[in-house]
Amino acid sequence: MKLKHKEAIAGYIFALPSLAGFSLFFLFPAAISLYYSFTDGIGKSKFVGLKNFISLFKSESFLLAFKNTILFNLVSVPLIMLISLLLAMLLNNKAKSVPYFRMMFIVPMVIPVASVILVWNIIFNQFGVLNHFLTLFNIKPTDFLNTGWSFPILVMLFIWKNCGYNMIIFLAGLSNIPKDYYEAADIDGASSFTCFTKITLPLLTPTMFFITIMSMVNSFKVFREAYLLEGSYPDFSIYMLQHFMNNNFTNLSYQRLTTSAFVMAIIIFILVLGLSKVESKYGSS
């Protein structure tokens, strides 16, 4: 008991700076703003119960944004995990060219957003390069950025930008798997596929948990590119929760903002709960 006691105190002391700062700058503000989703106005704080939530779910804009956000995550997160895992495994050796490749992959994250947007615009604009290419084949040019094509374009942009990010993390995770395991499996005559599924994947589970969550966070951040490419009110297919929230923010509808954030928090809660259950199941080797 005494030892446990000591460990607990040590635990709290180590975590203290983080806990203090977190509570002050994140937890309390989040709690306060969630409280606002049950009130009628910032200055007034009249408790109105679920009225805000009911009107939120009646709003077509919210429902559309909700649907699009989920769709976007369902498509892009598995896709990017696949691609970045593949790349990390390809680069997880000691060939001479590998460090150079590794550095190249970080570059998309480093470029200022404006340049990225410019190049993307040049390609997909009404008068852009892709349309130019299509006219050579007598196909009529389309304004890709304002039609349903903007969804795959945004997914591409997301993957392009973030696969470097995930790759670094996968690399760090892969580097943590002791080589002995592979050697032992080799001696036992296991194929590379079994190596992958029985050694690599399970040992990567904490990393994969991390990357899934970070990919979701990054898919919220892709709003910045979407906003610069297509404005506050883009094509229906990419109008996401972030657009909804940002527009409400600039239009002073703070109630809507916090209410939708509360809904989002609940969904994230369920998601993270599910993910961590999966992690604890597979993570303990």
Binding site: M1, K4, H5, A8, I9, Y12, L16, L19, A20, S23, L24, F28, D40, G41, I42, G43, K44, S59, E60, S61, F62, L64, Q126, D143, N146, G231, S232, Y233, F236, Y239, F244, N247, N248, F249, T250, N251, L252, S253, Y254, Q255, R256
Partner: protein
């Protein structure tokens, strides 16, 4: 077991100590009660140019504190938005300033955001308030969901301004004081063919607002904010867009185009380019402006100006655009004093201050009548607050002379305007059809209204 609770207790204690100490760090000593009630208002122009200078200062135990932004619109908007959301900011909000500048981007969103208070109780309790003294229709523009959030001080009616000579030189005839829509289109068509100089434009579109005004001025109300209905995706609107692109737009020139330099090599645009080079403002005939708004455009011959009400698509009636709507924020401590302040502004006989341009026609009827008399020369101009050395020029005489009765009001929303102009721009360039443009606008407006 025991250590668990002990640890929890220590943890909570630490967290609360930290947060309490940080709260304590800011325990401001409340300022001692001032004897004066203080009201803050944000003003876009500089101190010198502010048209409310007559009302600022202190009187009757009320101190009005203006905050000037020296024409820095973005700074004012950012600060206003942020502070309103945080529960701070000015006590009194004015939606427009400096004639045509919209300080508040979306009047509708501001009204529905619960940051302003309902003014109806104040008006009901105000013994001096007489409903008949105010232009009822324009006053209705401040009501959303049965609550009154704004009191407008002025309103304007879109118009076209020119001189009789220019019309005669170009063989243009306007029957009465307004074109019918068909006549207007015909004139545009003919003008394109018969104009003596290819460099001429029929209408000089000041600040590019012609399209928005035509849409707002039409018989059908294409967007209704209170009922959240949009009608952009209708044949009506599409045919208006087509009329605009085919007939009206080709004979219009915007102020940016007249200033364009040789960047564009396309020959068709040589027309616009040369205007600047010749430097002769009367080379082209231009009509523009707002009734109730004096436009300082040097290209107008001010003495002999005539004004014609903007044609209405569908030949509707005359619609007024409210200007300078005042509201009181919920953080205001002295709401009654703020209400009195607003009423003072609205009822004061200063329609125009010093040399600044007139921004609209008064909602308050006694002042409205006084302006008419001043325009007719029956009372001195200083009675309506104009500088003694200033004379009413032709435009202003016309404005006050034929200000009509409005049959309805139309609200302007900057966000929706941006949606309209961006889609119509693409339509005019030819990248999308009119149907697609209308579809886009409707879709975006729906998103906006439902957020």
């Amino acid at each position: 077991m025991k250590y668990k609770y002990k640890s929890l207790f220590i943890f909570l204690l630490l967290i609360s100590l930290i947060s309490i100490s940080s709260c304590n760090a800011n325990k401001k000593v409340e300022k001692s009660e001032t004897n004066r009630k203080e009201i803050t208002i944000y003003i876009l122009c500089s101190k010198v140019a502010s048209r409310y200078s007559f009302a600022l200062g202190s009187y009757d135990g009320v101190q009005v504190n203006p905050v000037y932004f020296d024409d820095n619109l973005e700074k004012l908007q950012n600060r206003l938005n942020l502070e309103l959301m945080v529960g701070e900011g000015p006590d009194v909000v004015c939606t427009t300033d400096d004639r045509t500048t919209d300080i508040v981007k979306s009047v509708y969103k501001l009204a529905s955001s619960n940051t302003l208070i309902d003014l109806n109780p104040f008006m009901n309790a105000d013994k001096k308030y007489k409903e008949a003294d105010y232009n009822k229709i324009i006053m209705n523009s401040g009501i959303y969901n049965a609550k009154r959030f704004f009191i407008p001080r002025l309103y304007a009616v879109p118009a076209l301004i020119t001189t009789k000579e220019k019309l005669d030189v170009n063989d243009i005839n306007i029957s009465g004081n307004r074109w019918s829509w068909e006549d207007f289109l015909n004139t545009c068509k003919n003008f394109m063919i018969t104009r003596k100089d290819k460099r001429q434009a029929l209408i000089f579109d000041y600040e590019g607002k012609l399209l928005i005004d035509l849409i707002a001025n039409s018989k059908t109300q294409f967007i209704d904010y209170s009922s959240k209905v949009t009608k952009f995706n209708t044949r009506d609107f599409i045919s208006l867009l087509k009329d605009y692109k085919d007939y009206i737009y080709p004979v219009t020139m915007t102020d940016t185009e007249s200033n364009e330099n040789a960047l564009l090599a396309d020959d068709n645009l040589a027309v616009m380019r040369n205007i600047q080079e010749t430097g002769d403002p009367l080379t082209y005939m231009a009509l523009d402006g707002y009734l109730g708004m004096m436009d300082g455009n040097a290209n107008q011959d001010q003495k002999n100006s005539e004004a014609y009400i903007l044609p209405s698509y569908g030949n509707g009636d005359i619609y007024g655009l409210p200007r300078e709507m005042f509201g009181i924020t919920s953080r205001c401590k002295y709401k009654q004093a703020a209400y009195d302040f607003i009423q003072n502004l609205v009822k004061s006989t200063n329609i125009n201050i010093g040399h600044s341009p007139i921004a609209g026609v008064a909602v308050y009827k006694p002042l409205f009548n006084l302006s008419l008399e001043a325009a007719a020369g029956k009372v001195p101009l200083t009675d309506i607050g104009m500088h003694p050395n200033r004379a009413l020029n032709g435009n202003e005489k016309i404005f006050f002379g034929i200000v009509p009765e409005v049959s309805d009001f139309r609200m302007n929303d900057e966000t929706v305007n941006e949606m309209i102009t961006s889609s119509v721009d693409k339509y005019i360039k030819g990248s999308i059809t009119a149907e697609q443009a209308a579809n886009e606008i409707d879709r975006k407006a729906k998103l906006f209204l439902n957020e």
